[in-house]
Structure formats: C-alpha cells, structure tokens
Amino acid sequence: MEINRRLFTLGLGSAVAWPALGGLTTAAYAQSPVMGGTLRIILSEPVGLVSAVSSQGPIAQISPKIFDGLVEYDLDMNPQPQMATSVEMSDDAQTMTVVLREGLTWHDGEPITSADVAFSAMEVWSQFHPRGRSTYAALTEVETPDELTAIFKFSKPSAFVMNALNASEAQVVPKHIYEGTDILTNPNNLAPVGSGPFKFVEWQQGEYILLEKNENYWKEDEPYLDQIVVLLIADSASRAIAFEAQEVEAAGAIPVSLADARRLEELPFIEIPESGYEAYGNNNFMEVNVRREYLADPKVRQAILHALDREAMIKNVYFEFGKVATGPVPSTISTYYTADVPTYEFDTEKAISLLEEAGFTPDGSGVRLNLTLDPLPYGPIYPTVAASIKQQLAVVGIEVTIRSADAATYYQRVYGEGNDFDLTITGASALTDPTIGVQRFFWSKNIIAGVPFSNASGYADPEMDEILESAAAEPDPAKRIELFHKFQVKAATDLPILPINDMPYFAVKNTRLQNSEVSPYGFGGSFSTAYLAE
C-alpha cells in the first residue's frame, strides 16, 4: 500500500519542537482527583499486550496503559511529551531527533535508553507493526549518540511520522528482553515488562488481566488508580449485565449491543459519551464490486442507495447511534468533512426508475437483479444490517443472497484474487486523516489482491486518482481541505462505495470514572489521570 505519507496535519516540512511541559493541562479536571481504587474495565480477549507487534483492536486499548509512547497527543492531535521530552523533525523531514526523559526505567528496573528506541524502530516497528511497516518504511538507521538521544534517519521526507509516535503506533519495547529472540513469539508479548503508568501482574486466559500502579512512574502522583482489572468477557449480554450490576466501570469500542447501550444509558450511573474517539472516526458502508457488468453502471448503484431507508436502519438496527453518512469521510473529522455533496434520499420509485433506465426489467417473479452480499464477519451488527438491506432491496426487485463466512473466507472472497463478491457491508476507521483512512478504498493504485481493506470495489478513475494524489501532496491545509471536499463530491457521484452511517466508537462508562478519555484515542489512552469519583 503505497500511501503517500509526506503530508500530515502537523509539522509540514518545518521543524517541530516544544519545551518540556509539566504534563497535560489540568484544565479538564472538573474536580480534584481521587487517589487509589481499582478500576474494572471489559475487553475482548486480546492476542497479546504489546502494540509494537500488533495493531489489533483490544491490544490498542490496553497496551498504552502498560507502555508509554514517545509522545501522547491531545484532543487536537498536538503532541505532548511522554517518554520523550522533545522530538524535532529537520526541515527536509528526513532526520528526527528524539530526546528521552532522564531517569526512565522499565518495570523490571532496567533503565530506558536510546538503544531501546533504536532497537524498537529498526527491529520491531518497521518489521512487525502492520502500519509501522509503511510508516517507517523509509527509516534507514537510528543513531544513538548518547543514552538519551535517538536520531532517526529517513531515506525520503517522512514528516507524517510525527503523527505516529504514540504508544499504539510506535511503542518502545525493552531491547534487553527482545534482542536475539523471535519477536512475534516472545513471552513478553503476553506478560510484558513495560514502561507505562501500570504494571502487568497476571493474565488468566479467558478471565481477566490484572494491572497495578507503577510506583516509579515518572509523573508525580500519577497514576491515580491503584490497579486496573481487565475482565475478558466476550458475550455482550453478559457485559451489559455486569454494567448494570456495577460490577464493572467501563469498556470501550462499542462494548455492548446497541440495544443494551440504549437501555444502559437510561441508568443514572451510566453514561455513553459519543465523542473522544476522533482518531477512530468510524463509518459503515457498502462496497460495490464495479467490475461486475451489472454493477458497472452508476445508475444501479444510485438505485441501490435510493432503495435503502437508512434512517430506518439507524433507528432500528443501530438504535439511533450515529447518523446517515453522506460520503466516505465521517462527519467526526470536521476539518475535512462536507455535507455539500449529492445525496440519495429514500425513494423506492426513483430507485425502480433508475433500474429501468439501466435496463433491469423484472422477470416473472418481479426480480430485476440477483446480488450476493457479504457482511463483515465480526459481531452481530453486520449480519443484521445485511438482513435489513436484503429486506429493503427486495422491494425494488433486487434479490439479495447473504453469504456468511468465517473471516478467512471473507477476506479471500472480497479482497483475494478474483474479488468474488457483488456487495459487501463493512466498516472502517477513517483514522485521523483521509489520506490514511479513506484514500485506500478509492485509489486505483490500491487495487491489490490479498490485502484486506484495500480498494476492493475495483473502482479506477483517473480524475479521482488525481484528486487524491494532489491532496496527499498538498502542503497548504486550506487547499487540502478544498481537495478533500472535491473528493467527497466525486465519491458521492460515482458511488463505488455506498455510505450507510457514521458510527461513533463509543464507550460505556460508569459515571464514577472521571478523566479517562483525554486523547483522540479515547479508551486507548494511558489512563494515568483517570480516577474513580467517590
């Protein structure tokens, strides 16, 4: 995936440095924090605890509590010092100098040095982190002139690296534990020696993971909590009951069924914040395989969108979470989002006339078109959405056959050689920037067999490529925004992807939990400032 990563919201070609501040601003504190206590959160069982080797969702939620990043981002994506006291990108964006805080130690007492940073970057991020492999693709070496300084050398300008320095994107791991071992199977991945505010204690498979306060954390008084118990409950109904019984305080990333979320919200001690996850700007959409002769005509795709009552779907399937999407850029990414695009209201007659225009007439039993639909096989929502779509498209004479499958089969069908699908209902995070999170679905150069979440629809349009490539290269933020608005209009006109809804990546929380989401990564933050109110 050759995403152009030269551009990023910050530090475009210019050096960025900041003085060592005393930590995050305390303005957000509504009251003085309570020290101590045990926080209980719910997670699906992760496959490990180290983000440096995997970007899996549950890991991204827990790992930053055990490991510090070089930096942490504030809600506006401004980097804040964490392990590093300063990060400086050279003007040519090919040299990045990181200076570590003095006196940092690993949880086992070993000192954290620039050698750890160099090892992590060269041997781990650029080798095993799924995104790091491309983010740090241009990294040639990391020099360590002294114990606290690491100098990253890139073979081409890599300013966007400045936006990937937090604990889940570029996690520094202890060299003394990983060096010379098989990194993917190192036991430390399951029982990590970390650097963050909480220390790993134990992991009872299928039951819980226990973290306790790191007494030697560099930030004075932090973390506030004594321990975090991570309950590994897979079943969403059981999770809901745990919330209700106040056996648990919080869980992120849509932890319960939408119906339960709405029900829990009614409880006085539960809140469901829909913001605080800007880095995960999430949307659900239907990709159309435009290689198919019968789906090549944009009229057919428009007809399909007209036939869908997305308001009703949001009401009944999504329990009024999120809102109807107008295009591939979710409205949560307010910088780039525009509502001023062609829209397709629910209108079955219009859908039918569009189908007629495209030459699809009903056969004896009223069927104009037979299509298959592959729901993304994670969680119960996609199949329900698929059922709803099947039901709605039947009204305009499109007979949909839902094909359920396990993940491997799904990826093979949709993204593998031959792209054996008509429609797929899926969802993706737009991440912090359309170039990273959205471009991949529209760019013709990203039609790559065998890569999940690439351009599966087979949509290839020179004009679209031109817009995307210029946006990626455009240094001027205002022009960039303009280009992305143009992109959204084009996407909504050609419709290789049918937008369904923008879906908040919400957490469910007991109101006692305060100050937990302080970064755009929301529940994936370090929680060093989180506390339980009396």
Partner: protein, 326 residues
C-alpha cells in the same frame, strides 16, 4: 491378570488409531477452503501492505506445500507439540491448558449432576412404572430432552439473574475477590450452578429415560425373581440386584455422550462467559487458527477417548463378564 492387561493394551492401541484418524480428518477439512490465518491477521491488523500477509505466511510455514505442512504437523504431534497459536500468541498446548481446567470443571460437574440425578430419577420412575410418580418423572425427562440448551440458558439467566438476582449471570468467579480458599470455592460454585445445570439437563433427561427402561427390563429378569424368592424386601431387591445391572447401558451411553457434551459446552460457555475451551474454539474457527483448532479438537478427542476408556474400566469393574472377550 494378563487378559486384563492385553485388553487394556488393545484398547489403548485402538484409541491411538482413533485419535490419529481424527487428526487426519480435521487437518484435511481445515485445509480445504480458501483463505488462511495470515489473511485474518492482516485483516484484524487493519490491512497493512501486500508483503505483510506473505511475511506472516513465511513466518508460520504456511507457504509450504500442504503435504509438507501435514508431515511437519504430525511429526511435531508425536512429540506432543501442538504448534503455536497465532491468534492467542502462545503455544497451543499452553492456550489449551489455560482453559482446560474451567471446561473440565464445568463438564465434570454437569456429568456428575446428570448421571447421579438421572440414574436416581430413572430408578424411581422404573421402580414405580405406571404410577403417577413415574408419569411425573417421565414428563420432566421428556421436557428436559426437548429443551434447546441455549434457550434454557437464556431463560435461567432471565429468571435467576435478571428477575430474582440470586445468581451471577456469567464468568467463573468474582474478579478481585480476596478471601479464604473456601470462600473462593463457594464463589466458583455459585458461578457454576447455572451453566452446569444448563449443560446437564439434556443429558440428565437421557440418563433418566434410559435408566428407567433399563430398570424395568432388568426387573423382569430371572435373577430378580431369584432375589425375591430369597425373601428380601423390594427395596433391597432394587438396591442390591437391579441397580448395578440396570446401570450398565447407562454407562455405555455416558461414554457415548461425552463428545456431545463437549460440543454443548461451546454454547453454554458462550452464554455464560465461562472461560473454557468452548468459546476459544468458536473464536479460533472464525479466525481460522488452524493450529489452535487442531489442538483443541485433538485434546477434546483425547478427552473423549480417555473418558471412554475410564467408562470401559468402570464397566468391567462392575461387570465381571467384560474384559475376557474385549
């Protein structure tokens, strides 16, 4: 006794063949469809670049021809090495052992519950065949036999957790609970009641029905008439002469049902968030973690085979006629 030893050796050899057969079947089945674990890992990782999945394939030996993979798997299996689970990030053996205890606890409780209660109910019904008590037990058994496991689980949660609030809805213990060992055990016991009962009901019904008809059949046999001719009370006739004989077919059935019960535990563990093998298996299937799945199916069949062996030994202990002619 040499005949006993040879019986045991023969059975062990047969069991070994069966397990090998199961491994082969599973290996073949799991490698038929398109797609592999690397696809899934690349997918969960959110895409990555084209090299990522290939690098994973190379790392895990998935780029080898399937025959080589099979030979590799079988040779390491002979060393009891079940390979590495890439979704759980640990050796398969460790992943299984972490969960096996919970599943065994659930299963053995359910089996014990089903067997003891089932045999007891069957005894009572069989002894009182045709009377109201028999009718009540038979109807209960019929109901238990027809109730879908998952529905029963939901109804029990609805009643005992949601409406009455008497029992926890899931999990194996109250996390973070500190206390003396007996309190911990009590806590586990409390969590165990609903899932074990849910899993047991179907089998309880089977055993009760089988025991009932077995008791009725045995009660009509000649040696029971002999026992009566000795002048013993009906109670003693049933206790000393009918029960053991009637239990033999129930034991056979017990051996046959172990595999089924393991399957049932997938559902029960899902409903009650029981931290056992079942749920892990279910996830492994979706993630196409072939090693883990093969490992789980291997261990489950070993469990079934071992249980069958135990049942056979129990059977031959009760029935002296067995063992001589295998």
């Amino acid at each position: 006794m040499p005949s006993y030893a040879s019986f045991l050796i023969r059975r062990l050899f047969q069991s070994f063949l069966i397990v090998v057969g199961i491994v082969i079947i599973n290996f073949v089945v799991l490698n038929i469809p398109p797609g592999d674990m690397a696809d899934v890992m690349a997918g969960t990782a959110g895409g990555g670049d084209p090299g990522y999945a290939d690098a994973l394939r190379e790392e895990f030996g998935l780029d080898e021809p399937i025959t080589i993979q099979f030979v590799n798997y079988m040779t390491s299996l002979l060393r009891l090495d079940l390979g590495y689970s890439f979704t759980r990030n640990m050796p398969v053996m460790q992943a299984i052992m972490d969960r096996l205890g919970a599943t065994l606890l659930l299963m053995s409780t359910a089996i014990l519950l089903a067997f003891v209660l089932g045999v007891l109910m069957g005894m009572i019904a069989g002894k009182n065949a045709g009377k109201p008590l028999d009718a009540v037990i038979s109807v209960l058994a019929l109901i238990g036999y027809a109730t879908p496991l998952f529905w029963l689980g939901l109804l029990l949660i609805l009643l005992f957790t949601i409406n009455l609030g008497w029992l926890p809805s899931g999990g194996m213990k109250t996390i973070g609970m500190r206390g003396p060992w007996w309190q911990q055990w009590l806590d586990i016991g409390e969590h165990l009641i609903l899932p074990a009962f849910t899993l047991a009901v179907f089998y309880l019904a089977i055993f009760a029905r089988l025991m009932r008809s077995s008791v009725i059949e045995v009660a009509g046999q000649d040696f029971v008439r002999t026992a009566r001719a000795k002048g013993m009370t009906e109670g003693r006739v049933y206790l000393r002469h009918v029960t053991a004989n009637a239990m033999l077919p129930v034991l056979t059935m017990l051996g046959l049902q172990i595999g089924g019960m393991l399957g049932g535990s997938v559902v029960v563990e899902t409903i009650f968030s029981w931290p056992g093998l079942g749920r892990m298996t279910y996830d492994a299937i979706f993630a196409r973690d072939v090693n883990l799945l093969l490992g789980v199916l291997f261990m489950s069949s070993v469990c079934v085979v071992v249980t069958n062996l135990l049942v056979d030994l129990l059977y031959s202990w009760i029935d002296p006629r067995i063992g001589l002619n295998g």
